[in-house]
Structures are given as C-alpha cells and as structure tokens.
C-alpha cells in the first residue's frame, strides 16, 4: 500500500488532490460523476459577505490551451452558504475549504468570522488574487502591505486553517509569499488566474464583457510551476500548487516543484471525473517508481 496522506500544516488531507475554487461549484455539481469523498479536499466557490451577481455575460472565451473567465465572484453571500449550502454538503467525507473574497478588509473579516466553528470546514482559502472584480480581489494580492493587512486581520478572527491564495500577476511572487506567511498564513495556494484578454477580430470587440479576465488551463502551467518552485524555496509553510493540471503527470510535476497538495481547476470542466482519476494516477506513478510515501515527492525535483 502506498501512503497518500499529506499534512498541510496541521490539517491532514487523505491525499494531495483538491479541487480549485470556482471550478468545482459546491461539489454538488460533480456528485453525478464522482465520489467527492475520494478527494483530499475541495475548495468551494468564491464567497463574499454579501450576495453578488457577478459580471455581465459574456464571461468566457476559449484561448490556446486554456480559457479566460470573468465570472466576477457571483455568489449568494456567506450567510446563504452557512444556512443553505453547508447543511447540504457537510456530509462529504473530505476537507471542505471555503474560498473567501471581499472588497474591503472589513468584509473579509466578517465573512471569515461567519465561517468559524463550522465543524466540517477545516479552513478557508483567502482569495486576495481575483482579477475579475473592480474593487478588492486582486488589488489586495499584488502589493505586500495590503496582502499583509488582510491576512493578519483575518488571522486574528479566524480559528481554522488559513490558506492564502496568491496572484501570479506580480513581479516577485516570493515577496508576496513571505509577506502572507509572516502575517499568519498556515499555507499558501497558487496560482490564481493570469490577467488576460481576447478580441474578436471580425467584430472588433472584446470577447468578455469586462474586456480583461482570468486565464487558466494548461497554457499557464509553466508559469504556475515556476512560481510554485520559487515559493517553495522561499517559505516554510506548505504550498498548494495549481494552474493547468490536467492529469496525474502534471500533478506530480507540481509536487516535485514543491507542492504539498495540488488543486485541479479548469480540467474539471473537460472531464468532471478527472480529479479522482488523478488520485489513481498518482498511485500508479508511485507503484511504478517504487515510492511508498507521496510526501517524498514534495520538492523532489533533482537539480545537478
């Protein structure tokens, strides 16, 4: 038997495969396809203090080996999550993380507070990197002082695991990583989407209502891998890597680069059962390579 469990700074995932926020709904959308309990963890849709309608349609454009989205954190607000959604999903036999966003630090604080003490929610993922909202979102995550401020403020009120999700749209991601580590993050997840844009040459119009949007999928994998490796070498807290993971090989690359766990995002749209297949694929790789503990892959890239 191979050992698949990984410890993200005190919280144990049964295996390193999680799903990425905004690509996995609240898990329910995938119940027809997989046993959610087979996953190491899931991160549910970005949640804010108040109900948000998100951005206008169109919100999506296909790009080379990827896609742009401009959903803009559409959600019914944290109270709705706690009262209506949580009771429906709390039976999942996996760690449920809530992705938390806000326009002001006060909103982040209040949202996090409302998630305190939900027994089946071991932690939150602080989204300081959403490129698709006018205020807050990414603006917190691209400058150190604001990243520190929001992380520290939430750390002060939130009792569970605090994962902070970084933006790739920065000059030096290690600076941001060290900043949020210093401010109390228990783990760091990355990358969120790259800010991109697409144009319809025939109509001479942007393809997204918001003109720019977030790029995800295999096209961003090289950038994501690089940032995971950089951050892994810069901080002590566990790194949760993502960005274009489509299969078990990709997942293993992220672990070799320094990820303790990984998140599967856009790939879920193309194959809704891929996350569970990745768990199986990691097992197969370990057997083939005579690896008994998945932890030995973390940061295991060999450099001469």
């Amino acid at each position: 038997m191979v050992k698949l469990a990984v410890d993200i700074n005190g919280y144990l995932l049964k295996n390193p495969v999680m799903t990425a926020s905004g690509t996995f709904g609240f898990g329910e959308e995938y119940e027809d396809f997989i046993d959610i309990g087979a996953l190491g963890g899931i991160v549910v849709k970005g949640t804010t203090l108040h109900h948000r309608e998100g951005n206008a349609y169109p919100r999506m454009a296909e790009t080379a080996s990827g896609m742009l989205n401009a959903v803009g954190l559409q959600n019914k607000g944290v109270d709705h999550f706690v009262s209506s959604i949580y009771p429906r999903i709390k039976h999942y036999d996996t760690g449920i993380f809530v992705n938390v966003s806000g326009s002001t630090i006060e909103e982040y604080i209040q949202t996090a507070e409302k998630l305190n003490g939900l027994e089946q929610i071991p932690g939150i993922e602080l989204n300081i990197s959403c490129p698709n909202v006018k205020e807050g979102g990414m603006s917190f995550g691209v400058h150190c002082p604001s990243a520190i401020a929001v992380t520290r403020a939430v750390r002060d009120v939130y009792k569970g695991h605090l994962m902070v999700k970084l933006s790739p749209n920065v000059t030096d991601v290690t600076e941001m990583a060290r900043a949020v580590e210093g401010a109390g993050a228990d783990s760091i997840s990355l990358i969120n989407t790259l800010l991109g844009m697409a144009i319809d040459a025939e109509k001479r119009r942007p393809l997204l209502s918001t003109v720019t949007g977030g790029l995800s999928g295999p096209c961003i994998k090289p950038v994501a891998l690089r940032m995971v490796w950089q951050v892994y070498n810069a901080v002590k807290v566990p790194v949760i890597g993502m960005g274009g993971i489509m299969n078990a090989t990709d997942a293993i690359e992220f672990m070799l680069a320094g990820s303790t766990a990984i998140q599967v995002g856009t790939a879920n749209f193309i194959d809704p059962s891929i996350s569970v297949q990745i768990v199986e694929g990691i097992k197969a790789y370990m057997l083939r390579h005579d690896i008994t503990d998945v932890n030995s892959l973390i940061g295991g890239m060999l450099i001469d």
């Binding site: 709904g25 309608e53 919100r59 879920n268 749209f269």
Partner: protein, 259 residues
C-alpha cells in the same frame, strides 16, 4: 424524472450529410440510452483539435431508443464542428449528457416550433414528443438559402412545415417573422417554441409576447462546463442570473430580463 449526468464513450454509427454545412451524426450508447427530454444537450470532447480546448455543446436532435442512438445535427462553423463533422462510423465520441432542462410538452394544443439555422436541431425531437403526447405541431424553419435548408422529411412526419429563406430560394422569402405562420396564424397557436440566432429568437419572442402567447426559447450561451460548475453561461432573469446550462437552455421569455 432526474437523469443522472454521465461521461460516456459513444460510437459513431453513421455520418449523414444534409448539405454543405450540416451533417447528422448518429452516436450509439454502450448500453441502454436513458430517457432524453426535448431540449436537452450534450457536451462533446473534440479530440485532436489544436484550438478546441473546451467541450462543444450540441443539442440532442433526435433519439432512436430502439437502437440506443442519439442524433446530433452539426453545422460546420469552426475547427471543433469541422472535426466533429469529419467523424466516421466506428469513431468514438466522448459525451457528457444529458444536460440542461427541457421544453414544456403539453398533452394538447396547437404548437408553433420556430427554428433558424442550426437552431432547428432540438425542434425535431420536440415535435415528435409533442405529437406523441397529442398536441398539434407546426414547424417554421428559416434558412439563409435553399442550399443549407434542412432535410424536411423527418419534420414532416410530425406536423406541418413552413419554410423561409432569406433569398427566397425556397419557401417564403425573408425571415421567419415574414412567414404567414407568424404574421397571420400566430393567434391560433397555444404556445411558441424557438431556437436559433439571437436576433431571430428575439424577433419571434417579440411577436409572441405582443400576441400574448406563451413562448419558450432555447439559448446558446457560451459554455465552459455545461453542468453548472463554472457560472460562465449566465442569463439575466427576473430572479437574477441563472445558468443557461442547468436552469436552461430553455427559458420562458417572461422570465428573461430584456426580452
């Protein structure tokens, strides 16, 4: 009845070319095909496409329950649809299905089914089901010209078929809204269903609304997942944004904002 969504590898049994732009793929399920309701769609993985990262949503055109075959009407518009139109018997088709809600199928009444372009696809299964339930079916199918007009044989089995072409090369010249079925006989109808280009659906919806006749539209919003996970396909409704892929693609126009 809720049908569990699934990912399944179908086998192409036939590729029937309708005209220069349209083909019908016959895709056979491995086992028994579940019940399909008119208006539901599939998400197809396009293998070997260099620019087809996401699946492609395609309406279910018709179902042959005896042979466990699903028919898909595909218009070649870009790389994805061209690759699908090139599939041959024996090729595999990776589908997620059944997706979306479905059209209302009353047991009686006079129904007008208005399709434009490839939007005629879901109207065939809808027409059949309406007829089987006991309603009277009237199709009104619009095309650019006779070259890309659908094969009408199948439609004619289920009801009357009116046709318009923009250049007058078949049926009434002009848009569907120029056809007597919509201009004169609309008041005799109990319900209008429409699927096709946005502009056409809005025009049909406008006349139906004016005549006070219930109207259901099937939207073709851009979709990334097709099963409610990405929130990319939203449409504004009176109750806020709804997912076209799960709460649609069929909407009653009264529920849509700006229609």
């Amino acid at each position: 009845m809720y049908m569990k969504k699934r990912v399944e590898l179908f086998t192409v049994t036939r590729n029937r070319r309708i005209n220069n732009e349209y083909i019908v793929l016959y895709a056979k399920a491995n086992g028994e095909l579940p019940d399909i309701s008119p208006g539901e769609f599939v998400e197809i993985k396009v293998e070997n496409g260099q620019n087809t990262f996401l699946r492609r949503p395609i309406s279910i055109h018709e179902v042959h329950q005896e042979t466990n075959e699903m028919l898909l009407l595909i218009q070649e518009v870009g790389e994805g649809s061209r690759l699908l139109a090139a599939l041959m018997p024996g090729d595999k088709l990776d589908l997620i299905y059944p997706l979306g809600n479905s059209f209302t199928v009353p047991k009686s009444g006079r129904m007008l089914l208005v399709g434009g372009g490839v939007g005629v696809a879901p109207l065939l299964i809808l027409g059949r089901r309406l007829r089987e339930e006991g309603a009277e079916v009237n199709f009104l199918l619009g095309a650019r010209d006779r070259e890309i007009l659908m094969d009408l044989t199948d439609y004619k089995q289920h009801g009357l078929v009116g046709v318009t072409t923009e250049d007058g090369s078949a049926g009434v010249k002009g848009y569907v809204t120029d056809h007597p079925l919509l201009k004169e006989r609309l008041k005799d109808m109990d319900r209008v269903y429409t699927c096709g280009p946005d502009a056409m659906m809005r025009a049909v919806a406008a006349v139906a609304k004016e005549a006070g006749i219930p109207c259901e539209v099937s939207l073709e919003n851009m979709m990334a997942c097709g099963f409610g996970a990405c929130l990319c396909c939203v449409v504004e409704t009176r109750e806020g944004n709804k997912n076209t892929c799960t709460e649609g693609p069929v909407f009653n126009i009264d529920d849509l904002k700006g229609w």
